[in-house]
Amino acid sequence: MTRILKARNRWSRRELMAFLGSLALLYPICRFASFRVPRKPVPVNISKPVLTNGFLVSSDFVLFDRDGKTWALSRKCTHLGCKLTYHEDNDIFECPCHQSQFNAETGEAIRGPAVKPLVFYPVEKRESDPFYVVIT
């Protein structure tokens, strides 16, 4: 009797094949759902010929044009992705989530918990409108 009960608890070959077949469907589903369509580069046009105080704060980056140099730093904190605040008085970026700080010229982390430097975005400076094009 016990042997019969034990046999009944085991799957039949057909049931096992059906189960494995269902599991096999998981792979294409995961591949489909997890595929990341590459993000299209977005050029951000800035029509200001001169930046007030040498910088411009945008939603995703801060553009600098001073001392003969032009650069744009991402406002995304390299710790956990929060949006950074630029402090003009100290010339640093600070994260409001965990107070990481970054150098505004080099993008390097000067205070943790962030370790990696900020991302630079390519900047094109032009003679006519748009005067700056930042590729994000």
């Binding site: 995961c30 759902a33 997890s34 595929f35 990341r36 369509v37 993000r39 704060v57 995304k76 710790h79 956990l80 992705g81 929060c82 949006k83 605040t85 402090h87 600070e94 409001p96 989530c97 965990h98 107070q99 918990p113």
Partner: protein
Amino acid sequence: MTLAPFSWKEIKWGAWALISLYVSLLSGIVVGLQYDYMTPFYSTTAIDLLVPYGRFFRSLHFYSSQFFLLFSCVHLAAVYWKSEKLNYGEWIQLTATLPIILFLLFTGYILRGDNTGASAGLIAESIIHEIPFLGEILNDLLFSVSDNGLRKVYVHHVITFDFLLLLCAWNHLRIYRVNVGDYRLLLAAMLIFSIFISAPLEPEQLGITYIAGPWFFLGLQELLRYFHPLIAGVAVPGVFLIALFAARPGKDRMNVFLLGMFLWLLIYAVLSCIALLR
């Protein structure tokens, strides 16, 4: 007429939690009629400022959801010792509703699209990315806010986590029925509360130096300051969950797990206070 003396022990916290869930679901449908996940912050602000009774319905949805979580936690504590008759599978099913409820609330925070919500979404994404092997797949399934905006978060908030919640609580809800009419006072209290207290919303501000996350993740936010995201964001909450699953009443060594959970909650409360006072 004399009033019957009020006793905390007689409150059916599970029923209160269920009523709160009903209110949350219904008010969520109302809010969803105006909400647009493509422009989350604009949509949320418009609901508050432009849509007639929008501020009330958003507040009702927000606070009923918070009450649902709180009453569920109290319910678990209140009926813990009576849960001895549950088998292990039933215990896991029911306790699994707690992290699901947390995810429901968390995705709701993200959908606000304000400073707190946007940062919460990015932090969750970063933490999940840290999980070895599965991180990228899990992020693409659950959040993916950087690449796909709030589309997936919206789907999970409206359907996925509700479905999972129903799946886990179905047998329990079939056994313990609730007559909504018996809780008119609770319903009235929630409605009146929502009339006077608005749901929070934090617009982006120039020069902001500190963002406090959702209240139930403040301790986690503080931990992330000192530890690697995998430790603070995955391992530490995971340890609590494992202890909760293992602490089935009547099981051997459940007292050890209970003590562990109590200490965990105590430390978490202290960390939350520190995060709040920053």
